[in-house]
Symmetry: C2
């Protein structure tokens, strides 16, 4: 029970992974393929960037190549795998943290900033990663590796570094979500109406009401820097503590 996502994940796992890693022997006989998984993924990304994730259907993607929908299935097992490829596609290139110097805090901050940039540049990424299971391809692993590398000087255990990584990713995703909601003007109406309701039920939400009165949720500082600093101050405290313990 609790078969959370798509129930039909029974398709050959090996094939999907080989696809993600680009490790499939191409055929010798037969007509030359006119497409590649990568090109298909690129087209899908362009479509999603322009019209949102819902606009990405096998038909529409195929249409950009003047090809029938079923042709895509010669390159990609199904739509889910296509989404995986899309994700890998926009994560291409491991983040470059060298601009942040040697300081691990600066490096983690830079990592978060670049990650956020990706999310903001592709508004569908949030939905896409939530839709699919945690199926990490090489590019995604590259980002993970970069973050863990930045955290190595902290001296934390692998598990601890992983937790910190999760904290930072969570922050980035939340900020991305937030900035998506923010400039969606059709949500203004919604916020206005909810605001009215909130006033009417102010007694049920005392802290929230007070917070709104206090200037509300308009960020006064760079939210990313704030969040990362908060996390990393916590990490620093952890380092100090374990250092004190071990000495």
């Amino acid at each position: 029970m609790a078969r959370n996502q798509k129930a039909k994940e029974t398709r050959d796992a090996g094939a999907s992974i080989a696809l993600l890693w680009g490790e499939q022997d191409q055929p010798t006989r037969g007509p030359k393929p006119s497409l590649t998984p990568a090109r298909i993924a690129q087209a899908a990304v362009a479509l999603a960037d322009a019209e949102g994730l819902d606009a990405v259907s096998m038909n529409k993607v195929a249409a950009t190549f003047d090809v029938s929908a079923m042709a895509l299935y010669r390159y990609v097992p199904g739509k889910g795998e296509l989404v995986d490829l899309m994700i890998e596609s926009i994560l291409a290139g491991r983040p470059d943290l060298s601009v942040a110097g040697e300081d691990w805090r600066a490096q983690v901050t830079e990592w978060a900033r670049q990650c956020l940039r990706v999310y903001q540049g592709h508004s569908w990424l949030l939905a896409a990663t939530a839709m699919r299971r945690q199926a990490m391809g090489p590019q995604q692993l590259g980002w993970l590796d970069a973050a863990l590398a930045a955290l190595e000087p902290t001296g934390l255990t692998a598990a601890q570094r992983h937790h910190v990584f999760l904290l930072v990713v969570g922050l980035v995703r939340n900020l991305a979500q937030q900035s998506l909601d923010f400039d969606a003007e059709r949500d203004r109406e919604w916020n206005r109406l909810t605001g009215e309701l909130l006033e009417r039920h102010a007694d049920r939400f005392p802290a929230l009401t007070k917070a709104l009165a206090d200037g509300g949720f308009v960020p006064d500082t760079d939210p990313l820097a704030f969040g990362v600093d908060c996390i990393l101050d916590g990490v620093q405290a952890l380092i100090d503590r374990s250092g004190a313990t071990s000495s």
Copy 2:
């Protein structure tokens, strides 16, 4: 452009919100309605709990009441709004933080623990909240209010408290995601295969490889406590700093 989610969110926003808040004047004339939005939402939740979010279709939900799919549209504008109701339904009841005493750290920790319990009890919640825009109903606002209230003793600004809230939610959601991936046995195969690939390309992922060798990502402590402590240590540092500034 970048019309992230469903393109057809043009349906009357006022009606959806009235539905969420239960603020709709019920009719006098006509046959007595045999259903209520709340009962429909409950049935949908049961379905999602048992068979996953994908199993929640208007048809299946309607079938549990021996009613045609279209009958549901007399109570709910569309599927999106139904999902919103499902979310509100399982968040019913504001979290009770009194067991944690007066300490704000303990209260925030307790909030996170209860929140995580909800996510883990309803494996579809992650996907559902990611699918929908940030459309908070009263129950969701209640959780937000409780968190903000717990953070009031910190003396942080409203915006800062909101950021901390986002950090904690991000943490909880990541942990939920993680524990979902963990006990999904059909992902074992996937992890095994990816592990092999990773070994073969160890040079591309030095930090990751080393981390795996170091005992990997098996959590050695309570991940929730670790994350919350990390965040709250950061908050404490922030408090100390601003206290020093103002004095």
